[in-house]
Subunit: 342 residues, 2 copies
């Protein structure tokens, strides 16, 4: 039997409207705080559950985080939560890696099929009761480039491959292919290779390395027949350049679930372009997703209390879980918070 | 070398606007006729290429079909072409089986994903510049029932299976499952089993056995969470009962590419229901599909001239190619027209 830590204090930062049903937790003091009440509630907290990924107030509250050893973030992307103080600290950060992979992959396929089969135009014609036959695109034999071959990117690549789409990726370094990706290019190759693809799918975390990666230059190098899909983070794409490219028909279309600013401003031209599909950052959120996300936290809480290695440990300086694959977590993903340091 | 038949007369029935580029055919007399000119052009014709599946005028022209030995129909469904005279004759009928399987399967998946991910509502909200997050359905673990486990139905089942959807079918007889379908029910079981499925996909040919198969009773037995997809033929479904069921929210939605009457009447309530997707009989028609369809005919024409067995031979009394699988044609699908009989 492993040693059990003394009763830890867990602070859950949640807006009242989105609070999940958390079962009774013996041996844990569970506190709740709204994101703007983090400072008062943080005193003495050993662990933090960040339920809403838009903000925590943790930056200003950091002086009260002296007991903090572990932060669990309830999403795959941690860019809005990680602060320089966290990077410089020994606080262990974990995330919800895995839960949303498959639903995000399905969502990407839904967008790709909507473009391929001209579904938005079908719905527009339907509103006018207009019967207008058009041939559409067959996906078999098309090519997709996934930006970000992590767990989500791999799930996307695997699913697209099952429709006989040829899938390559852009990762941190150039490497040979594997069972999902034909090959993986380094970011510097993007302007040279991006023009070969029918679908460019952004599934990367937002880091200093990916911010602005889909630049005006990269967009200009895309095929006029290509669509850009973004389920990663808005600031990875030059949104103004993308909007211009779609409006001028320099590219075929864009399916966007994330934006530079969310919610997307009502005045944005992206809302009105017939070749853009705008959705409100919902790609991965399937019915029951909050229960599955909670289970990931509860599993890690159990591990924390029994001093077992935690799952889905993020490297705060990278901004994601290293050695990120679609395999079950291994020892390389696990870490045990060191008591008493922050 | 096999024996070559004397120069055959091939009559291609095509509307002028949809005439494909046919390469020069040595040793073949190729005639063209509009569907309403069939009678005059039919005298002495050995073979008929029916390019437009909506009609041929062949019924009235039949007395002039004395030389006719072979009819090639440029679609998978032959219901609008086969006449009682053809059934009673020894004319060999072939179709375009295979060309559209994969594109139709992709189209079915596009409709299923549109419902699962609530895409029509996303587009409606987009028109209003409204950011409204909703969780949506994850397909993994859902269940689909394919009506018609022929070549197209198998392609649909195989594709849905690749998204971890559990797929069963309704065929002519009850039988155990195979590598695509968990099991295959006889039509009589439909009212008892249909309620277990999230997606009911009609991919059957229109025959006397399938006409009206998705009756008011079957629709009433569907799950309130289920969608009906029809890429087979309109008269297989009781369209009035379906329209009522969708309007009253007795079922979740319908994705319809085929209708009792085509084009769908402008006054039909199906156009206006937010939970119905109406498309104009285009599911299988991918860019380049006419070239691939022409190649199927040209391959059979070459076989005909060299007295080899034809591919995709339809049983006119059944209304489809028997032993229909997604495998390459075998001897069971092939037949050689008998010269001089009709």
């Amino acid at each position: 039997m492993s040693e059990v830590a003394p009763e830890p204090v867990v602070l859950a930062i949640m807006t009242a409207g989105s609070r999940p049903e958390i079962p009774p937790l013996d041996g844990v003091e569970l506190r709740f705080a709204e994101p703007d009440q983090t400072a008062e509630a943080l005193d003495g907290a050993d662990a933090l559950l960040v339920w809403n990924f838009n903000g925590t107030g943790l930056d200003a509250a950091w002086p009260r985080a002296g007991n903090l050893r572990w932060i669990h973030i309830n999403s795959a992307g941690v860019d809005r939560i990680i602060t320089p103080q966290i990077v410089d600290s020994k606080v262990v950060v974990t995330n919800a890696r895995g839960v949303l992979n498959e639903s995000i992959a399905e969502y990407v396929l839904a967008l790709i099929l909507a473009f391929a089969k001209d579904l938005p135009k079908t719905l527009t014609l339907q509103q006018a009761h207009t019967w207008q036959h058009r041939p559409t695109q067959r996906l078999r034999g098309t090519r997709a480039l996934v930006i970000g071959p992590g767990a989500i990117g791999r799930a996307i690549g695997a699913l697209l491959g099952r429709l006989s789409i040829a899938v390559d990726a852009v990762g941190r370094t150039d490497r040979a292919g594997d069972d999902v990706f034909g090959r993986v290019f380094a970011p510097a190759a993007l302007p040279q290779v991006v023009g070969d693809y029918d679908f460019v799918v952004v599934a990367a975390p937002l880091t200093e390395a990916t911010r602005g990666m889909i630049s005006a230059e990269v967009i200009a190098a895309m095929s006029p027949a290509a669509c850009l899909i973004n389920v990663g983070r808005g600031p990875i794409v030059d949104e103004a350049a993308l909007s211009s490219a779609v409006q001028s028909r320099a590219i075929r279309g864009a399916g966007l679930d994330v934006f530079e600013n969310e919610p997307l401003e009502a005045a944005s031209a992206l809302w009105t372009d017939a070749n853009v599909i705008v959705s409100p950052h919902m790609a991965g959120d399937f019915f029951g997703w909050e229960d599955e996300l909670l289970n990931v936290f509860l599993d890690n809480l159990d591990r924390y209390r029994h001093r077992k290695p935690l799952r889905n440990v993020v490297d705060p300086s990278l901004g994601f879980v290293p050695h990120d694959t679609d395999e079950p977590p291994t020892h390389t993903d696990a870490a045990q918070p060191t008591p008493g340091v922050s």
